[in-house]
């Protein structure tokens, strides 16, 4: 299995993103041939990618998984067991009060549609937009459509 098991020693924090673990998730990222086109309207993507149904329990794991969402690197999240949340982005506690499911989806899929110069990665951005990608990630999105939907499903529970 190539699912990451969080080991939270202070030294493990040195590897902030998964780039430093060669070969570990070669099979995890989807191929570009699978890329599902999506459409944004009104700052939102109303329909789930590929009409998939997300699982919030899986989403909760993905947001703190260093090799997957790793949202915790930048955002305070209501996941108490994940220590040292980052402060680069705004806290996401209660985010579903402000943003609808479709609005959350667009932000996870490709926040650069809203803020072209954002530091936040586009987790389901068209891979054609990336420049100088390391070989094993070339032509691939950061998350699969199912993983995006799992995270969106969890975010909508943050009332």
């Amino acid at each position: 299995m190539n699912r990451y098991i969080p080991v939270l020693t202070s030294l493990a924090l040195a590897a902030l993103f998964s780039g430093s673990v060669p070969g570990a998730d070669q099979k995890a990222a989807p191929e570009s041939v699978d890329y599902i086109k999506w459409q944004a309207a009104g700052y939102a993507i109303a329909k789930p990618l590929g009409s998939l149904t997300g699982d919030p329990a899986v989403g909760r794991k993905l947001v703190v998984d260093r090799k997957k969402g790793n949202c915790i690197a930048c955002h305070l999240l209501p996941v108490p067991e994940a220590e040292f949340p980052g402060t680069v982005g705004p806290p996401l506690v209660g985010i579903a009060h402000r943003l609808s499911e479709g609005e959350l989806r667009l932000r996870v899929v490709d926040i650069k549609q809203l803020f072209p110069h954002s530091i936040m990665p586009g987790y389901y951005r068209n891979p054609e937009n990336y420049i100088n990608v390391k070989k094993k990630f070339r032509g691939k999105t950061i998350l699969s459509p199912q993983e995006v939907e799992d995270i969106v499903a969890w975010l909508t529970t943050l009332q």
Partner: protein, 258 residues
């Protein structure tokens, strides 16, 4: 101008890629400023700073005779005392002969092959890093003063472009972390300006001295970008920009960083 407007302007011009150095009004700040008091003490004390082991190894190589019976010391003094700290702090410099910038390590490679008659080493070879750490340490406390005009200009500009260009699957630029979010925490790690004044630097994360090009590779890898070989033209240009961006900061080699 009210500060609110000014900072907005700064952010806009950063995003447009027009900011040079650490950004206008953004004084360069050494990574030292972000260290805990304990780590600062460790860096300052020659006996507890583990980077000095590498300095000593470099000093040893410096007095070791090469193929032609000469050592670095034959020309530059037993402890390198004939090398000028002011010159060391000005690297990379433009070489008229090579018609391109030469880094401090690049100059060491030249003396290694041309003056000692030794077989060429790869860029960032362990011995090359040892010698570079020793030589840079001779200029500890000097302020970095790299030329960015004249023939250096195009190389500086190329390095600057590299710094502001988002790359990799995570699609981020060096400037995102080291300019826009300085002081914020990426997970547990406080982001600094990513200054180069402590290099080669002892990293507590891997318990050894790391060259500047190694750090470039580590940060590019973090972004899932295709990193390059140490000593590549792109990295030389980036080194020109990074050291020039540190102009005015004191050399701390061997610094201690996380």
């Amino acid at each position: 101008m009210p500060t609110g407007k000014l900072s907005l302007l700064l952010v806009t011009s950063l995003l447009a890629g027009t900011v040079s150095g650490a950004g206008p009004g953004n004084k360069p700040r050494s990574g030292y400023e972000f260290l805990s008091p304990e780590t600062r003490d460790m860096q300052e004390d020659e006996f507890s700073n583990p980077g000095f082991q590498t300095v000593d190894e470099g000093a040893e190589l410096f007095i070791t005779a090469g193929e032609n019976g000469k050592s670095c010391a034959s020309c530059h003094g037993d402890r390198g005392q004939k090398l000028k700290p002011r010159n060391i702090a000005s690297y990379p410099v433009y070489s008229e002969q090579l018609e391109k910038p030469v880094t401090l390590q690049g100059q060491i490679h030249r003396c290694w092959t041309e003056r000692l008659g030794k077989p060429a080493m790869k860029y960032d070879n362990k011995d090359a890093i040892r010698l570079e750490t020793f030589v840079r340490n001779l200029a500890e406390g000097r302020r970095i003063d790299v030329e960015t005009g004249g023939p250096m200009r195009p190389y500086y500009e190329a390095g600057r472009e590299f710094f502001y260009k988002p790359t990799g699957q995570l699609d981020m630029a060096c400037a995102h972390c080291h300019e826009q979010y300085v002081g914020a925490r990426l997970r547990a790690q406080v982001l600094t300006q990513g200054q180069s004044n402590g290099f080669p630097t002892y990293r507590l994360a891997n318990n050894r001295v790391n060259s500047l090009h190694e750090r470039f590779r580590q940060c590019q890898n973090l972004l899932r970008a295709q990193f390059q070989k140490a000593g590549s033209d792109d990295y030389i240009n980036l080194e020109v920009f990074m050291h020039a961006r540190s102009n005015g900061l004191r050399i701390e080699t061997p610094a201690i960083r996380f």
